[in-house]
Symmetry: D5
Subunit: 166 residues, 10 copies
């Protein structure tokens, strides 16, 4: 059984039952809606109790429930660059704004990255008379690059900060 | 003269003068910092008055100033997938969360996309005792796909909405 | 069930019944012919009432009808660059005329794009003694790039236009 | 001398002189604006008299003028998929509408293609209270695929049409 | 049913029956051997009467016969660059001789292409004491690029030719 | 010095002198026009006496003349798939007709290939009232795949043929 | 039936029967071991008598036996660059030694190639106290590039050699 | 000035002076040897005091020294897959062992990754009578994926852990 | 039967039985845990006795057991660059640290590589108050590039070392 | 200075002086001809004494001589798949014979590879009345994959061999 087959099965049941994602996420509970949807689409995992609820909801086998609780091969089956316009726009935003975000984050935070693991993602709707807007909030921990001292040099910590102050 | 040569020239002067992006953006003014940096890196354009200020600041020629005011070939020279970890993390977030964002936006807004053109981008710092966080806010107008009526059928507007109500 | 499997099923029934696209589009109604064909090929979606008609026409299951009403992963399964000569010629036209279209649209409309979402597509035949011609009309809303003011700067609207006038 | 260097040179002079494309096309004359711009950007060629005018306008050498009159390696230097949003939208439209255009052209015209060589391209602006629209008109000769008779079979013409009638 | 599945089915029957391509092409008739083989391999289409004969020969269903008469997605499933040495040699010949053919065709015919649609292809054997030779004859209509006059300029025809004479 | 720089230099002189390829090929002599042009474009080599003539014609240095006599890295700098329509059409013909040519050559000649080395290429013009045609003749030696006998098995020659007869 | 399915079937029977390749090659006979294995893996073909033996050995159907006797699409399904370390090392050797082999073969043999068709391949083991060595012997006919005389010039043979002597 | 030009300059001086990396790293000090080499090759950055020392050592300009202190576009110019055998072997190890490392890290640590940012890298030599061994030690902080609670649900922390315990 | 199907089967049984990798590796024994997991995932092979145990554990057929004992096509099915964040981080580490590791290994060991075949891989957990760390130890034999003497020159051994001493 | 620039410089001098590779290799001495050529083309390195000779021969600077003695980024600048027919044939041989070589080496030697590092390469000419043949001999040490015992298991050596015997 491939993860993508389980995803197709779940989607077929969702169609059959005429459930919305919002209903499914409410039933499973515990995570934000986006995380539950991501799990069912095969890019995140459900906790064991959540997988059990999902299993009951969709009438899944033991192995299928176990699979929902496993960490998937994230990103599998997602074409890059994305062919779908909705996803492509996000890709384009990274391509075009990436260089500026890089130098500004580095100027304001130092040498490091925004974590994609210790990370929150929010989706919301902003009403506007000129047409409602989609709002996506990304917020990840800043992780500074670690610069080690030469071997045999006993000072602990991140050498970088000490050097800058020197 | 290629746009990338002008970018290298501007970066060399920035190094020589020891200016921060924040200082440069303050001098040029008018746009958010991220848009000014993006313009100087060759992915957005400055307005004419801004380009004139930038020209004085960096000591640019007439043709160079004109180039800063031209729409560039956005995304030129940006390797995809990104090799740089900071930019790659954003790419990864699109790849992994893209499918869930797609189905949720479509469930909540209908068939359409978040515009990458009528779009706002914000970068901020969120203090946290466990380590500060990078916050990136994306907000774009929702654009519904337009579904046209058959030729010869005089009803204007977006047929889709009328059909759903039928 | 994958969307591509549903497409193959619909095409097989079309062959069996010896229906033309024109007949099918007439039966389903409501959209232009090109949108209905695109929906059945898996790149657009039918409205619910249309999907119900299509379901009756092709004898589809409830889940299959629901799938026709879902936004598909547009562009899935389309090889790029296209191997088929008919589609390749369109691709080639974009590659060769794209740069000129870009600078002329920007000169005539300002910094922005032709929307591919708020967009009309028309196909027609132009009779000619030297051989009939295929005419493809594309017409999309011009979307100006939005340039935001620096944070804390209360002026609303698109800063760009104000700056140019300054 | 590479064609791309000549393009950069012409663009620099255009910036220096503050000429618009519309002005340049008017000076050179003879072709539609889009063809003249395409020629100067290195994807079409000017006729000899046009190249001579362009040479005077931009102060070009004999070899540079000759180059403007040569057929270039069309499409050279155009990244595909396009990174620039304006050009990408056109690419996306081909990817998403290509399959439907293919089956409809084939249903209405028979087995063949829309020529990209015996082809007209028009760009215009459509005023609209909801925001002006960009209109791109493509019109190419329909070319039917030629199906040859078996060797030794003396019937001339396109066998296909004869067979269909049989 | 995918076109590639129909191809596999036809090939299996050919193996079972021990038919040569030459026999099959003779039975179906009407086209050159190469066009019939190309149609059965999924890159060209048979006329309706031919498809009917092929259907009888191979014992195909109504939908399968209809599929043989449809224009396929040409080139689908052909790996490029080709891995097979026989096809690769043709690819290599294009890669290595393409630039010279381009400039010579342009010098001798003007700005345009050899049509791949209004095109004949012949395969023959040339006996030689040093080893027989494979002869492939390609012959396509020369199509001159069309250069349109500026909008509002009433002169019909191809402006290019008039300009050259001016 | 790179071969591509020498090519650019030769092309610039050709422009300066207003020479046609036909004139240049006539001056150098000895090869067919297409081979001389291919050599000057960097995909074939001239013989020493030819290179000497070319050197005098274009005013080349000793090292440049030597380079014209060296076997180049054939195909270097040729984008594949070709972006230029003229070369792309040849590529497309290989992609679409390659599978049929393969099975027919194998049926008529046996397991082997048409050599791309012991190979002749001819370009000619075929006059036609409906528009002249470009004719490209390819003719290469048929090379049968060699099937060796097991080691220690003394029979020479190509085992394949003996086995088929067995 | 795809060739790759037949390969999987043969491999499964080999596993079931616990046969070595050496045993299978001995049973089929006639070719070197490497050619028989290559044929069973789908990159070469067996002669008809060999295919018949293989058919009996593996219990194949008539169509499967015929398929073993057909020239396959060589190289199909082989990932390049190879992911498997054993095959990758060969790929790497070509990449790194290719340029030197090219110039030395050209210096010693003239302008041409080592045929990959009229070609022998041998695999053997060389005992060594420091660890046994794998020996791969490649030996192909040298094929000189053919340089044709200009059209209308009656001298036969390879012009190149005559020119060099001139 | 591009970062890669600065790298070439530094390497040329190193050659001229006959310095080893070990000597250079000793002179600059503060980081492990591998980090200093990585910085000089353009994939990490030096602290300001280190960049000043490096500037004196190599006789660099003010802008060049500033560049050494800037975060580079990491990975720029590194071909992937690597062509160099030494680097390719590391790539191959990731490709072949990646899947097993993934499931074992997830089984032993939970859903998350080994940080490539908060990360130590060590290179050492292990003497062995059968031939010395290269030892590469990688050690990165385990970062657990963050699973957020549904919006409006006030419980802080990582929901995942709470759910598993429930 | 494809190796990937066997992998899916084994994973399904693992899910059904709720076994951990640690339990499975303990049952099969003989190799390190990582090697056993790699074998079951299709990138290494089990010894015959191990395959027999695995066969009993998972209830496999004779051919499936034989397949576990065969050398697989290593790396098959592993997307590169990896989409999964855990594996991508390892890939990124090679891309970014590869150049520095190359020059340092070469400086310290001479011209050669770290073997990826005569190679040990260890995974362990390092407890830390700031968050536990993943430790991956790689250790491979250093293999010096072999530089052969000219043919006919009888000196054995690696010429390189002799030359350096000369 | 890039390695590729040094290569171009050496090639230009070789052209100027009309030296053959054979002469150059004889002058430098110590390695086989193929290794010396590979070093001068930038894929292997010369020993210090050889680099000194080469430096005198070509009149190189100190830094250039040092560069010839450095391990290059092997394979840099070699297009893959190769466009040049001579190198492509070798690539094709790997692609088509790779799978058979893999299973035969594994059957005859066990699980491992032919080293591309501890490796000899020989090029020779085999006279033949039907046309001389190019012979390439590859001979590399067989390296068995190392299978480690579980941690804490004190038995040294390669566990694999012990298990097979068990």
């Amino acid at each position: 059984m491939k993860r993508s087959d389980l995803t197709e099965k779940i989607l077929d049941i969702k169609r059959e039952k005429e459930w919305s994602w919002s209903y499914i996420a409410g039933e499973i509970g515990g995570y934000s809606e986006i995380l539950i949807v991501s799990s069912l689409l095969g890019h995140m995992r459900l906790s064991k109790p959540q997988a059990a609820i999902a299993g009951k909801l969709f009438g899944l086998s033991k192995a299928e429930i176990a699979m929902l609780g496993e960490v998937p091969v994230r990103g599998a089956g997602v074409t890059m660059p994305p062919t779908d316009p909705l996803i492509y726009r996000l890709y384009e935003l990274v391509m075009i704004n990436g260089p500026a975000l890089k130098v500004l984050i580095e100027e304001q935070f130092g040498d490091g990255i925004m974590s994609a693991i210790d990370f929150d993602l929010e989706l919301s709707r902003v009403a506007s008379p000129k047409g409602d807007r989609v709002k996506i909030g990304m917020c990840g921990k800043f992780l500074p690059f670690k610069y080690a001292a030469p071997a045999g040099n006993a000072t602990g910590g991140n050498v970088e900060h000490q050097l800058e102050k020197a």
